[in-house]
Structures are given as structure tokens and as C-alpha cells.
């Protein structure tokens, strides 16, 4: 068992850290305050190859896989959690799913712009009345012979209104539940009948756009069906098993950011004539954070390793995701306590950490759903895919 990174993985990690410090860190406060999505950061990520993991080089992939992607995403998320979404939004979501399920024409047309950062990607599953119960979605795609006609709406879609290319899951067999869903590739710039409404009232993740999408007789070309008809649920679960790594890695990184910030503060802040790090109760808090931070990281790396080796990874991914989000929420909570009144001030990042941490408990499978997956696989009720 080797706990070290290879020379190449270390280079990727260093590069991502330098990228995040140079291209993301200077804008964190400004973009948080203005809820501003700085599009050019995505372009720069694409230029450097940060959006091309596990994608064949013929479609612009960077020739690297999970064991390189995880340290890269980790470094980016540690600086600004909102920007970790782009790797899922462009690469692990649409690009990787099209690469797995798409035709050669679909791969050639849609993967290169997602990987280069020329296009913003997204994927849309959730609806106002359909969250954890994916099979209950109502957005309907009617087969009109030479095209699909889409009607319905999607809710809480990351990058929904900034997206150029996105995956969309919709009902193709009414009453079929999970077995009646299909996946479509949407070219948002060339599809009339779609209204995209930014959701501005969010607790956190302010620079990462979130949207409501309304489809009213939106015409989708026949050739934009991804995979077989009615296989949408299977494709969706396959995709989520990848994109959830974004949550798992991002939350572990957020926990690490909280710890780093708290260690720095505990060494600087003096009370009763000594640095507050000397007090056992602060040490207890920091030790808990460190334990959870490392455990979260190890779970993420194990899930990445399983994926890289094409072994069943669903349970490990759920474990990494649910543990990571607990570590992030707990870490952010502790960081705010350790920072005292300064933690409650927006001059310090503790508020952002706490706001951003809370999203992990909900998106891409609530913690309850993931606990269900972990237990279900353990009990033998469902296979570990």
C-alpha cells in the first residue's frame, strides 16, 4: 500500500495549487460579494487541461485519470469551493457520460468544447417536486418522429443558465418511473423553448450559478438522445457515481481549508498571555478537525483508486461523500468557534466555509440517501456498482 503521490501526480497537485492561488484566490472575496461567476476561470482551467480527466486524448482529454483529478480538484476547492463544481459540470458530468454512452458523432461534437472550456457544461435531474425520488420526475420528452418535444421544468441546476451544453433527464415512458427515463444532450444556445431563470437566493456557493430551467415545447434533435431510450435512470446513476466525487473531494478540501485557517489563527491569537492553541479545549477541536480531515481525504482517495482500477466504487463513493460533507460542516462550525467574533465577521472566510459546507449535505444525493446506499450495499439489498 502506497500513501504517496507519484511524481506526476505531485506535479498536477502543485500546478492546481498554483493555479488556484494565482487565478482564483485574488477574486474570492469580490466574487462572493457580487455573486459573480467569473467565466474566464473556466477557460483557463480548460487551457491547462483541468477539465479533461479520464477522457480519450482524441477528444481533448488530458491523458490522466481519477488519481490525478482528485488532488487537482482538492487544491481548487480548498481555495474556493464554488469552483470545484466546474470539474463535475464540464468533465465528470456531461463529457464523461457522453464518452461512455454516446455515439461517435455525439462524442466528436460535444466532448471537445466541454473539455477545452469553450463550453460551460451542466446536468439537470432535480425538479421542484422531484429530488431524492428521481423516478418521480415529470419533465416529459415526447417522441415526435423526427424530433423530441420537451415540456416541464428543472430546479436547482448548477450552471443551468450559464451552460452551453448540458445533459437533461426526462420521462419518455409515462408511468414508467425509473424505467421510463431517458437522457438527452441539450445544446442550450440553439434550442428555442427553454427559459433559464437564475436562482439568486441561496445560502452559499454564491459565485457558482444555480438555475431553474423551463421547457416549453423545446425541440431536441433525434440524434441528441444519449444512450438507449428508457435507460436514463441507469445513465443517471452511472453519472452520479462519478460526479459525486466532486462533492466528496470538494467537501474534504473544504474541511482542510477550515483546519488550515484555524491552525493559523490558533497560533496567532493570544489570550491569557499565550496563543489559544495552547488551550486544551482548542486542541480538542483542532484534533477532531484533523482526524476528520484526514479520514475524509483517505476515503476520497480510496474511491478514486477503485474507479481508476474499474472496481465497484459506489459504496466507497457514498462513504467519501457523506463523510466528507460531515467533516466540512463540522470543520466549518469549529473554525467559526475557534475564530471567535472574527469568525462571525465577513472579514474572515469562516462564514463562507459554513455556507458552502451546508450544500454538500443536499446536492447529488442527500446524506440520508448516501447512508441508505452504504447500508443497502452492506446488507446485500443492492449490488455495489
Amino acid at each position: 500500500m502506497d500513501f504517496g503521490l507519484t511524481e506526476e501526480q505531485k506535479m498536477v497537485q502543485d500546478m492546481a495549487r498554483n493555479f488556484a492561488e494565482k487565478e482564483i484566490a485574488p477574486y474570492v472575496e469580490e466574487d462572493e460579494e457580487n455573486h459573480f461567476y467569473r467565466r474566464e476561470i473556466l477557460t483557463k482551467m480548460g487551457d491547462l487541461g483541468l477539465l479533461g480527466w479520464s477522457i480519450p486524448e482524441e477528444y481533448g482529454g488530458n491523458g490522466m485519470g481519477w488519481m490525478e483529478a482528485v488532488p487537482a480538484l482538492y487544491e481548487i476547492a480548498k481555495v474556493h469551493t464554488s469552483w470545484r463544481l466546474s470539474i463535475s459540470g464540464n468533465c465528470w458530468g456531461p463529457a464523461m457520460t457522453i464518452n461512455e454512452w454516446g455515439t461517435d458523432e455525439q462524442k466528436e461534437k460535444f466532448i471537445p468544447p466541454l473539455v477545452s472550456g469553450e463550453a460551460v457544461g451542466s446536468f439537470a435531474i432535480t425538479e421542484a417536486n422531484s429530488g431524492s425520488d428521481v423516478g418521480s420526475m415529470k419533465t416529459f420528452a415526447a417522441d415526435k418522429g423526427d424530433h423530441w418535444l420537451l415540456n416541464g421544468s428543472k430546479m436547482w441546476i448548477s450552471g443551468g443558465h450559464t451552460s452551453d451544453i448540458g445533459l437533461l433527464y426526462a420521462v419518455t415512458t409515462e408511468g414508467g418511473g425509473a424505467k421510463g427515463l431517458s437522457c438527452f444532450i441539450i445544446d442550450y444556445n440553439n434550442t428555442p423553448g427553454i427559459e433559464r431563470i437564475p436562482i439568486t437566493k441561496k445560502v452559499g456557493m454564491w459565485p457558482a450559478p444555480t438555475s431553474e430551467l423551463v421547457f416549453e415545447n423545446a425541440v431536441v434533435p433525434k440524434e441528441n438522445l444519449l444512450g438507449p431510450v428508457n435507460k436514463g435512470f441507469q445513465i443517471c446513476m452511472w453519472m452520479l457515481n462519478n460526479t459525486r466525487m466532486g462533492c466528496a473531494t470538494g467537501s474534504a478540501a473544504l474541511a482542510a481549508a477550515c483546519l488550515e485557517g484555524s491552525i493559523k489563527y490558533a497560533n496567532e491569537r493570544t489570550q491569557f498571555g499565550q496563543p489559544i492553541g495552547k488551550f486544551q479545549m482548542i486542541q480538542q477541536q483542532l484534533a477532531e478537525m484533523k482526524l476528520e480531515d484526514d479520514a475524509a481525504k483517505f476515503l476520497v482517495y480510496r474511491a478514486a483508486w477503485l474507479k481508476e482500477n474499474k472496481l465497484p466504487s459506489q459504496q466507497a463513493t457514498s462513504m467519501a461523500k457523506v463523510f466528507g460533507c460531515n467533516a466540512a460542516v463540522h470543520g466549518a462550525n469549529m473554525a467559526m468557534k475557534i475564530h471567535g467574533s472574527y469568525g462571525y465577521s465577513t472579514e474572515y472566510p469562516c462564514g463562507r466555509w459554513l455556507r458552502d459546507a451546508k450544500q454538500f449535505e443536499t446536492l447529488e444525493g442527500t446524506s440520508n440517501i448516501h447512508m441508505g446506499i452504504i447500508a443497502g450495499i452492506e446488507l446485500g439489498y443492492q449490488p455495489n456498482r
Binding site: E7, K10, N62
Partner: protein
């Protein structure tokens, strides 16, 4: 246009320096990086290569760990590398390193030699200039702008309170100052490509230097850390008296007025 960039691996600028009992620097567990000024040199070399074609060769002196820095330079876009590694180099001084580099560089086709103006660890600013001397070519230090036309370079360099414009014939050595350019990050493609690029590892014998020819002329018996900052002093009493006392201390103790 063929370019050589001499690179030194240094401590990360954020690394905490720890001394052992003998006053030597304890480098274990410290993150190492390319000397930040050498990154400007690499970037400038890559820009020249993009404009004029040719090869960029990275040359560095040091042990196995230096490969990390070289690999990063190759990932940024340099074409090949030479690492000179020899047990006899354990205590090499600037003179010895420059002599060895000169021997190695003289075997490479090269119109321009670039380096950082200073290494952030020992800060001696000697090696590149000594290298120019050993090669018998001109050197311009702390450059902010480099224009090449034919076999001539027009260089802007930083001087105290202003800049100086210099014209010089190639081949020549230039040392890079902050502001010359903005070094690129290695791309994933560059990182993937770097492992396929050649790093020649040469001993002193390979470059044609006898171990006895480069015995250091200078030794560093010990390092010491700056003394820790003392706490501030509070002057009690009424304002007029305290001000008088403050003025007295500033003049007599701190000697600043």
C-alpha cells in the same frame, strides 16, 4: 535559436527554515521548488523559442531530488535537460558550480543563456555571472525586457532608481528580474509530455572536470537564524512625560532620531 536555462532547486519561499545542532540547514520534509527567479528565465526562454524556434535545454547541478524541478521545467515546455550529479559536489561553492556549468554548457549548441538574477535561498547572485566569465561571453543582470534581432540583443535592465538600455552581441548570459514576464503554469499536456523528455544525468567526469579541479574555495561553517523580534515597550505616565521619555529612547536607545 538554442537556449540554455540554468536552474536551481530551492526551498519553497514559505518553508520554515530549521537549523540542526551544528548550524546546518535541516532540509528534510521541506517542499522544494524551482527558484522563482529561474522561472522567469524559463518563461523568457520559452517565449523566445515560440518566436524563433530551436531548443530550450535546462541545466542544473544537484542530486536526485533536483529531478522534480527539472521535470516541472520540462512540463512548462523546455525540450531537454542535463543534471550534473557527483558526490564530489557536496560542498561546491558558486565558483565550482559555475566552472562545472561552463563545461557542460560549452558542449551544448547555445545562443542565449538565461538564469534567475538571484537564488532565493543563499542569495549570492554569483553563478550566472561567473558562468558568463568562464565561457568568455558578456552578461547582463536583472533584465526586465529582452529583444533579439539576428545575433544582437537589446536589453532593458533594472538599475537603482531607473532602467538602462543595453545592446549586446550573442551569445550572452542574461539574468531575469521579476517583471520580465509572467511564468506560465505547466499544462496537463505538458506534464504528460515531460516524462517522455530526456534528462541526461552526468558525472563530473562526463562533463570533463576532475573532482580535484573544483575543490570549493569557500566554505560555510554555519548558518544562524535572525534573532526573534522583541516585544514592544509601553511607556507609562502622563502624555507629556511619556512623549519626552519616548523621544529620549528613540534617540539614545533605538538611535533612529
Amino acid at each position: 535559436m538554442n537556449i540554455v536555462v540554468t536552474v536551481k532547486q530551492t526551498f519553497d519561499t514559505e518553508a520554515k527554515i530549521v537549523l540542526d545542532g551544528k548550524g546546518s540547514i535541516d532540509g528534510s520534509g521541506v517542499n522544494l521548488v524551482i527558484n522563482p527567479y529561474d522561472e522567469f528565465a524559463i518563461e523568457e526562454a520559452l517565449k523566445l523559442k515560440e518566436k524563433f524556434g530551436g531548443d530550450v535545454t535546462v541545466v542544473s547541478v544537484g542530486g536526485e531530488r533536483v529531478t522534480e524541478a527539472i521535470r516541472t521545467a520540462l512540463a512548462m515546455g523546455c525540450d531537454k535537460a542535463v543534471r550534473i550529479d557527483d558526490p564530489a559536489l557536496a560542498n561546491a561553492d558558486e565558483w565550482a558550480v559555475a566552472e562545472i556549468l561552463a563545461k557542460a554548457v560549452s558542449k551544448l549548441p547555445c545562443d542565449i543563456i538565461l538564469s534567475g538574477r538571484i537564488a532565493v535561498d543563499d542569495g549570492s547572485s554569483q553563478v550566472a555571472v561567473r558562468l558568463a566569465d568562464a565561457l568568455g561571453v558578456p552578461s547582463v543582470s536583472s533584465i526586465l525586457k529582452l529583444d533579439i534581432e539576428g545575433d544582437a540583443a537589446t536589453v532593458t535592465r533594472e538599475i537603482d532608481g531607473g532602467t538602462e538600455l543595453i545592446e549586446v552581441k550573442l551569445p550572452a548570459v542574461f539574468t531575469a528580474q521579476k517583471g520580465l514576464n509572467e511564468p506560465r503554469l505547466p499544462s496537463m499536456k505538458g506534464i504528460m509530455g515531460a516524462k517522455k523528455k530526456e534528462i541526461a544525468v552526468l558525472s563530473l567526469a562526463d562533463v570533463g572536470v576532475g573532482a580535484g579541479d573544483v575543490t570549493a574555495k569557500m566554505g560555510v561553517p554555519k548558518f544562524s537564524l535572525p534573532s526573534p523580534r522583541k516585544g514592544g515597550k509601553v511607556i507609562p505616565g502622563e502624555a507629556p512625560d511619556a512623549a519626552r521619555e519616548l523621544a529620549k529612547l528613540l534617540r539614545e536607545e533605538a538611535k533612529v532620531i
